[in-house]
Subunit: 196 residues, 2 copies
């Protein structure tokens, strides 16, 4: 095991599989604590106990709670997205639906709510929050890019992404299929008018 | 003073001016503590000290921290709105701009961030959150109502309100004037196409 790990380290010096495994074990536990019980529950001691690791191991990986928090939210920069097929309406509907799925399966609404609140007291999170927002919008932006540019592309992207956030975070429910279709059809109307 | 208060109570039995004054003194102090330091800082003891009231007085008004929290956020159900003049484009631009002003002057972005996060652990806040969202959208909805109905009106309203929330909460900055104009112009294009 030790030899294998060393050989692995020689091939890809920056990734020790034990490091990867520790991160894969610990970060979901820390995330669940944060989303269920809040920031106060995310101490090295509590996370170590829940994840079955020594506290010293956690300190070696994440010297501060802020380090742990930044890594924890960085996992949500890459959430599932739809792969475009070329049918703009179907692609937009499918992409907005991935948000609905991520709320149900990854609790993305809770992740975003905690992230936007915590960023006020942990400024180191601002960069992660921006990446989560920008990557979250990336497929919408790419689908609209052939039809709009500049500030109009940014506006249309934020309207679609924002309607998901407004629904899930402020109204408490991600958009259902009829609302998703209406969001997409309004956007298509605005775009098609531009193209005429 | 006691007689005056009694006479006032006889005229409008439900509003004792001392009650009103206590609420006006205490709630902004509690709100500032919540937004600056988080939920842990909002104890009866701390709020009483900061506001210059006896702890017993606070308990008489708000028996629990949840009572205090519900009242605190209820103040943000009524935020400043634009009064429509009949010029749809100018009215929408002005209404979206009131959000930008409320972020700058009332810290509305922080209020919303804390509200959406706290509602997960304090279910009594869900109704207040819904009122804040719905009242926040009311002028946008009223301006669009002559042009759309049903799920399409809801979709267009959430796209405009959501673009403000997406910008302020996820990207960290309320929309600037060029982005606001682009948001409004895209919406107008979608509406005008419907009317043809």
């Amino acid at each position: 095991m030790r030899v294998a790990a060393t050989e692995q380290a020689l091939r890809t010096p920056s990734v020790d599989p034990r490091v990867t495994r520790t991160r894969q074990d610990v970060l979901p536990v820390a995330a669940a604590l944060l989303l269920d019980e809040g920031w106060a529950a995310v101490t090295h001691q509590r996370v170590a106990r829940e994840a079955g690791y020594a506290k010293a191991t956690l300190y070696a990986h994440w010297p501060t709670r802020t380090d742990l928090l930044v890594d924890l939210f960085t996992r949500f920069v890459e959430v599932p997205h739809h792969t475009p097929t070329g049918d703009l309406r179907a692609d937009l509907v499918a992409e907005l639906t991935t948000f609905r799925t991520a709320v149900a399966e990854l609790r993305l609404d809770r992740v975003l709510a905690v992230l936007v609140d915590l960023t006020a007291s942990v400024p180191e999170l601002a960069e992660v929050r921006e990446r989560v927002a920008t990557e979250g919008e990336q497929v919408i932006r790419a689908l609209l890019a052939p039809h709009l540019d500049g500030v109009r592309l940014e506006a249309a992207t934020r309207m679609l992404a924002g309607s998901l956030v407004q629904s899930a975070l402020l109204h408490g429910t991600a958009p259902d299929p009829p609302l998703i279709e209406a969001l997409v059809d309004l956007t298509l109307t605005a775009i098609q008018d531009r193209d005429r």
